[in-house]
């Protein structure tokens, strides 16, 4: 069951029931001599909320940009929803919702206009666009700002609007780069509830600097440092996430 009843783009690709939603096999990304990600191998299961932890420059954003098809890997293979990111990038992009770290919005557009534009861009059928916008506006409590220009939004509303565009086409996989950025404590709690409510129906990959948030939100956590994967743990089996994180980094 999906949150939004949006007509999905036809996709006849094979999807094994228990195949990983995201599979990274020896993935590396280099910018000239600089290595942003080094031989990362990781599987993320369908329906789980997976957290990426690590300091700035550890490779979290690079990994997410690779999954979203914004960057291409220098080496290795990335499979998202059964599609290879390098060879079948469009099919991957149809199946994901992506919240970039900067929460970018078009300043000349109003919130409703922006969400309508993004829904159309993601292939939501024309007769369902209005309903899709109304549902994400309600879900993310954006009704107070729906007619406001995005340039006039507070940081919290910007973040929620950017998240709304990631959810608007009801994707199978959500990639959220620092979703709690700029939110106040109440909004952080609501964001956690929202992400938890998606678990099971959608696969969520999120990054965060806040250990306690990751602990409360995610089913499993991976720690990255200098582009390398240091470890993966289930949060339920890690009573002291902080100690584990410190021991790795």
């Amino acid at each position: 069951m999906a949150i939004l009843s949006i007509e999905a783009a036809p996709d006849e690709s094979p999807r094994a029931e228990h195949a990983p939603a995201i599979s990274a096999i020896n993935v590396s990304k280099h910018y000239g001599p600089v290595s942003a990600l080094e031989a990362l191998t990781l599987d993320i299961r369908p329906g789980e909320v997976f957290g990426l932890l690590g300091p700035n420059g550890s490779g979290k954003t690079t990994f997410m940009r690779l999954l979203a098809g914004y960057l291409m890997p220098s080496a290795g293979r990335l499979v998202v929803a059964g599609h290879d990111v390098a060879s079948d990038s469009l099919a991957v992009r149809r199946r994901i919702g992506y919240l970039p770290e900067a929460a970018p919005l078009y300043p000349q557009m109003r919130v409703g206009e922006f969400l309508t534009f993004m829904a159309r861009l993601h292939g939501v059928a024309e007769q369902k666009v209005k309903g899709a916008v109304e549902r994400v506006v309600e879900r993310l409590a954006l009704s107070a700002v729906v007619d406001k220009p995005t340039r006039a939004l507070s940081r919290g509303y910007r973040q929620r609007t950017a998240l709304a565009q990631a959810l608007i086409h009801d994707p199978d996989i959500l990639i959220l780069d620092e979703p709690s950025n700029g939110l106040d404590p109440r909004q952080i709690i609501e964001m956690r509830w929202l992400i938890r409510s998606l678990a099971g129906r959608q696969t969520v990959l999120m990054s965060s600097h806040i250990l306690s948030e990751v602990e409360k939100t995610c089913d499993r956590v991976a720690v990255l440092l200098d582009g390398r994967l240091l470890g993966v743990r289930a949060t339920a089996e890690t009573p002291d996430l902080e100690a584990w994180f410190l021991s790795l980094t």
Partner: protein, 233 residues
């Protein structure tokens, strides 16, 4: 096609809500009006050649102002990340920006038709030459917009994009001057690259297929390179 329409509408809206387009149009019309009045009173000849040459020069200086923000601004504000992670092909993004900017430039050019109407009312202009002149301007604008988009796609800075565009246009304009310094076959290559060399005959009323092919090929090459530049990531 639906994606292209959606992106085109967004680009056109962004262009029409920005003061840049209106400023460029105002400067354009002010300079053209001055030139038209001056040449008409001085020569008393019902001819738009001066106006076409003026539009050629003005567009070289003003089109970069319209194209500079296309990709550079999206890259700076990181909205390009939204476009490039949506299920759309880079070609659609490039074509939408190209079509919207070209529509604006042609819209500004269309305002100059009032001069042709004035000449027709008070004189007997050669309409064949006027049609050829406007064809030259459409092709010229197409090339400038395509190259301007290419320059905007390779940098985050709007100023750098505009400077690169003007530099490229000036080099293309004066390419034939360099031919005297070159030896065969590079001298004829430089002559054939010249922007003014392909623009001038059309404005005089002589439409050659080779000139049309020059503008169309150069525009398509620039659009291809822009798409390729976006895909490199």
């Amino acid at each position: 096609m639906r994606t292209l329409r959606i992106l085109f509408a967004k680009e056109l809206n962004a262009t029409l809500t920005s003061p840049i387009g209106y400023t460029v149009a105002a400067v354009f019309l002010l300079v053209l009006g001055y030139t038209f009045s001056l040449t008409l009173f001085a020569t008393k000849i019902a001819n738009l050649q001066y106006i076409f040459h003026q539009m050629y020069v003005l567009s070289i200086l003003l089109v970069p102002v319209l194209t500079m923000r296309s990709f550079a601004e999206e890259r700076r504000s990181e909205t390009l990340e939204l476009l490039l992670t949506a299920p759309i092909h880079e070609t659609s993004i490039v074509l939408a920006k190209y079509a919207a900017t070209l529509a604006l430039v042609l819209g500004i050019f269309a305002l100059s038709l009032v001069y042709a109407v004035i000449l027709d009312r008070y004189g007997e202009p050669d309409w064949g030459q006027i049609y050829a002149g406007y064809l030259a301007l459409v092709l010229h604008a197409s090339l400038l917009v395509a190259v301007g988009l290419l320059m905007s796609s390779i940098t985050e800075s709007q100023v750098v994009a505009a400077a690169l565009s003007i530099g490229t246009f000036l080099m293309l304009w004066f390419a034939d001057s360099v031919s005297y310094l070159l030896w065969p076959p590079f001298d004829s290559l430089a002559i054939n690259l010249s922007l003014i060399g392909h623009f001038k005959p059309m404005v005089s009323g002589s439409v050659f297929l080779s000139d049309i092919c020059y503008f169309v090929t150069a525009s398509m090459l620039a659009l291809f390179l822009t798409t390729w530049s976006l895909a490199q990531r």
